[in-house]
Subunit: 206 residues, 3 copies
């Protein structure tokens, strides 16, 4: 399992780097800007998690292969730009795969460092979404988090599911697969059927 | 005193979470977004302080009660939304109480970790304001810090006052009360009388 | 060399604080806001680097002289405002000197903590630019990083050059001078001749 998981981590990093590089939208973009957003998207969530948990060295600092995955992702985005922006559906697929896997990976890492399950759920969600949030803040976009779609909520739900199954002693491998699939399907369904959470603000009666 | 202080910390967290949840202003808000801004507002300042000082575990990671306070605050904001937005004056009261207490708490924590008084003053101010600053950055608002009112300045002044009284051996409890009251009154007076610092930019003579 | 380097660090901090304070552009600025942006610009890059590398205490927390340099920089910006904004060319000079030196300083610090050269190059660039990036995010500017000029790219190039010369055993002092001069000249040439990297997005053929 461990080798398989390591490959998935590198692949997830690669896909996040592609997604980040493609997020360069305005006309002042250049190769460096795209590389930077790719980098930030790929490492932001895990970096914030590890800094909050005081877990050193950061994953991408301790293992240079993550940097190579990002480099490969940005170059892929550059050379296959026209293909990739046309394949929006393909891209949603990879991005959703990325957040699904990183959520559960983040939960497991937090648990392994001995925190409460509630904290682990938050850390799982952070691992998946904060790279994109930091990218959006840097490029002056409204963070993906505040857009009218189920995104972080799917991650948080999957993290809570993993923790419940973990608490009732479901085996790790089965739990991993179930939780990842649930996040993946929940997010895709939400996009397809335009599911959304209820508004926070209620109309104020006069 | 310690139990009293702990209750105040949890209450301050609760009020900051309410304030953060209510900050969701645009039309794309939902329950998750409000929860997230509430969370960030409540933990942002203390988290940044502790990461800068290398003090682990972070307060809300080491003690789950802070998370429950935030949860309670967000739910309170949700269920009493119409009441709370009408009670703007009440709200200013709680927010000001929050920054007053968190400033001095932050100063004391920094001092206990052995930093210089100047650094402790900055850390106190950061504890009080950086949660709101991070929230404003995430929601694309101009950070509260740069608005034309005395806000961070009141915190910094109170922090410096605490450190001066500390240096001349005023007892901790008395010092705590004096400094908190000074921040509180300074801030409320500033809002009431529209006090402001001098502009930085001067008109350039032609 | 060490004393000379220390003086340069304090001077670089001083110039970055001036540059940050002058970045207050909108009409809601005040002395506190300018002080805050000066502070963030001066310490942001090194702080992010040290937090990512887990290197404590942060430079400006461990040595109070850095805070005094920032204070002096902000006051200088305040009292000589009209002169400084007129001397735009002078200012580019100091800012460029700042990023040149901080890049190499960041590379050396990262190497001394035992990271890979690739990571050290990134950390060098971060040391130089992230203070300005954080400042731009806080003031709702498009980060300097994404503007159409060679800026971060010059830092990264200089960092890579330093690491290559380091690998082929060029002496430290000579390497330091060469790399700093290369960043400095590259950046100034880029501004003068409006050099830019190729766009990331390519026109999509219909």
């Amino acid at each position: 399992m461990t080798n398989f998981q390591y490959v998935l981590e590198l692949l997830g990093t690669f896909f996040f780097a592609i997604s980040g590089a493609l997020a360069i939208q305005d006309h002042h973009d250049d190769l460096f800007g795209a590389g930077f957003t790719g980098f930030v998207t790929a490492i932001g969530g895990g970096t914030l998690r590890d800094i909050m948990l005081g877990s050193y060295p950061l994953v991408w600092i301790g293992d240079i292969n993550f940097l190579y995955s990002i480099f490969a992702g940005v170059l892929t985005a550059y050379f296959f730009y026209t293909v990739l922006v046309r394949l929006k559906r393909t891209f949603l697929f990879f991005d959703t795969l990325g957040i699904s896997f990183f959520t559960i990976l983040g939960v497991e890492k937090a648990l392994s460092l001995g925190v409460n399950p509630e904290i682990a759920a938050i850390m799982g969600m952070f691992t998946a979404i904060m790279g994109g949030v930091i990218r959006d803040v840097l490029t002056n976009e409204t963070p993906v988090l505040f857009r009218k779609e189920i995104y972080a909520t799917a991650c948080l739900s999957g993290a809570v599911l993993y923790l419940i199954l973990h608490a009732i002693d479901v085996g790790r491998d089965i739990n991993l697969v179930i939780s990842i699939v649930v996040i993946f399907v929940f997010r895709l369904m939400a996009v397809k059927y335009k599911l959304a959470l209820p508004n926070f603000r209620k109309p104020i009666s006069k």
